[in-house]
Amino acid sequence: MFAQILMFIGAFFMFVAALGVARMPDLFMRLQSNTKSATFGVGFLLLGAAIHFWEFAISIRALAILIFLFATSPVAAHMLGRAAYIAGAPLWKGTLSDDLKGQYDYKTHELTAQPEEQQPKPRKTGEKRTK
């Protein structure tokens, strides 16, 4: 009973993810709907399966699938989003900010340090040295 309620919640969230992928105006928004809501829904479904077969080997297997999906889904979404940005996918017309604009070198596939109009600020970590 409890497992079935969990699985229904998971199926509902997967339906919401499909609705988001079908209806969102922008490729990045669709990616966000895909990766977050669908992973959440499939997590509930696998948790329901782990509770339904209350047995060590099977429940561990279901939890292993869950952990693998939670680890790989952001990686896949990041790679798709990066490819979409490089391909020049148009943003939605109501988008407020594009932080990567002017900082990405399309030839060498590297982040340049700062855009021209902005004053370079010293940063502690994570910045690529320029010569």
Binding site: M7, G10, A17, A18, A76
Partner: protein
Amino acid sequence: MTFLNTLSFGLLAAAFILVVIKMFLEPSRDHRILALGRAISLDLMATLAIGFITLFAVVNDKKLFLDVAMVLALIAFLGTVAFARYLEKGK
């Protein structure tokens, strides 16, 4: 409580239909962007298939189907990464 299971199956099937329709009605401007949109739909379809197999395993009380879901999760991740790498290089 088979009614709730049937309802879950119905929701997943409706999600599948929505994604397939979206995959074929992708607005096409640039072929790379079109292919990326379809890759997103394919990724969601693989996740939906994992959920569908899990639900099927629970309803029919077949434990072995969880192995199928695991293999599908591995293959779907590899497929998405390969798609993204290929489309990122481009031209």
